[in-house]
């Protein structure tokens, strides 16, 4: 498989949000606004690229029976590093909104899933491309979901108000709105894909 193909695979054919339904907890919980969705997607992508690369590099020196603990330690290390850097350098608003979800990236099934199904069988370079592809797919899914929910629920896009307050449908920024929006987006994605 060429690197471009790996990248597109993650974006469309194995899109984690719309096709694989992986990482549903952050998908539903953090997409209350477009910017939150985008930041969560990018944070996950950063971790995924790093862990895919490292796990692919160490796959031969990791005995099979202890591979999962080793992978989890690597993933947890990168997430902790990301969290430290975010609380030191990221803007306050993003840090406040995502703070409690960042540690959850450790148990995000996308990360361990890709480590198991891709990184421990492929070369480091291919694994980086897989990380970028899946990461972008996840980021697009989250941003799209965030846009729709913010637009319908708060009448704004990326914080810019576009609709008057009277047209806001509060339901969409609350948890039920996340499920409804996700359902419709999956339907649209599948329809587009089958055509």
């Amino acid at each position: 498989m060429s690197n471009l193909k790996i990248l597109l695979n993650g974006l469309i054919k194995e899109n984690p949000t719309f096709m694989l339904f992986l990482g549903m907890c952050p998908t539903l919980a953090t997409t209350t606004s477009a910017i939150n969705g985008l930041s969560m997607g990018l944070a996950t992508m950063a971790v995924l690229i790093c862990t895919n690369f490292v796990i692919s590099c160490i796959k031969n020196i990791t005995p099979d029976m202890v591979r999962i603990p080793v992978f989890i330690v690597v993933i947890a290390a990168f997430v902790t590093i990301l969290q430290m850097f975010m609380s030191a350098y990221a803007p306050d608003s993003i840090n406040k909104a995502l703070g409690i979800y960042i540690p959850l990236i450790v148990v995000n099934c996308i990360i361990l899933g890709r480590a198991e199904s891709f990184a421990c069988k492929n070369t480091p370079i291919a694994s980086i491309f897989d990380g970028i592809g899946i990461g972008l797919g996840f980021t697009c899914g989250l941003t799209l979901l965030g846009c729709v929910r913010e637009f319908l629920g708060a009448g704004s896009l990326f914080g810019v108000v576009v609709l008057p307050e009277t047209t806001n449908i509060l339901l969409f920024v609350l948890p039920p709105g996340a499920f409804l929006t996700l359902g419709y987006l999956v339907a649209i994605f599948n329809k587009l894909k089958s055509e």
Binding site: M84, F85, S87, D92
Partner: protein, 194 residues
């Protein structure tokens, strides 16, 4: 390279090795980010105190901590006594935490010497975006539920539903109540300290 066999020495060695390397790496990253994180927290607090005291040249004394038991729970208040350039006391900024709709709601509120509210800012909240998260602007001077210049000494703040004078955030009564409770408790702590 041949894959390492799952023998006991191999497994123990790899696990110990990885733990040591990663422990060292984390210690290093912690070391380089510790300073900026602390600095940022202090900046946020300093900026917050300036806003809530409505005074750009505010001088802040060492914070005093007051522990109280409210409703069977421990509550901690941090009081920053403030003075202006000439050294005259202009009141205090008080950090107060209550339980909001989505978790802890931590506010910083500035009182003048008579207990009048000068300003407030939200330090930490996990309220619902689009609803309770509006608390950051709703109760400000130009907001719909303006509390600035009110004085909890005369009458504790309460939402209109509970017989008070403050308009609650639409569809977020719990956040509004938690917010006003934080202000009232902050005032109580401030009055006690004074």
């Amino acid at each position: 390279m041949e894959k390492l066999k799952s023998s006991l020495p191999n497994m123990v060695g790899v696990l110990v090795g990885f733990s040591i390397i990663i422990g060292g790496l984390l210690a290093y990253v912690n070391h380089i980010t510790e300073g900026p994180i602390k600095q940022k927290e202090q900046q946020t607090l300093a900026a917050g105190i300036k806003t809530v005291m409505q005074n750009n040249n505010v001088r802040v004394a060492d914070p005093e901590t007051l522990n109280q038991t409210i409703d069977g729970k421990n509550a901690t208040f941090i009081i920053h006594s403030c003075s202006d350039n000439s050294g005259k006391n202009i009141g205090s900024a008080v950090e107060s935490t209550t339980n909001g709709f989505g978790g802890d709601l931590q506010v910083l509120v500035g009182f003048d010497n008579n207990g009048k509210i000068l300003g407030y800012t939200i330090l930490k909240s996990s309220e619902t975006p689009g609803l309770g998260a509006k608390a950051g602007v709703w109760f400000q001077k130009n907001g719909k539920g303006n509390i600035i210049s009110m004085n909890p000494k005369d009458k504790p703040l309460a939402v209109s539903k509970d017989g008070g004078d403050v308009d609650a955030i639409t569809a977020s009564t719990i956040t509004s109540r938690a917010f006003l409770k934080a202000i009232n408790q902050a005032y109580a702590a401030y009055a006690k300290k004074k």
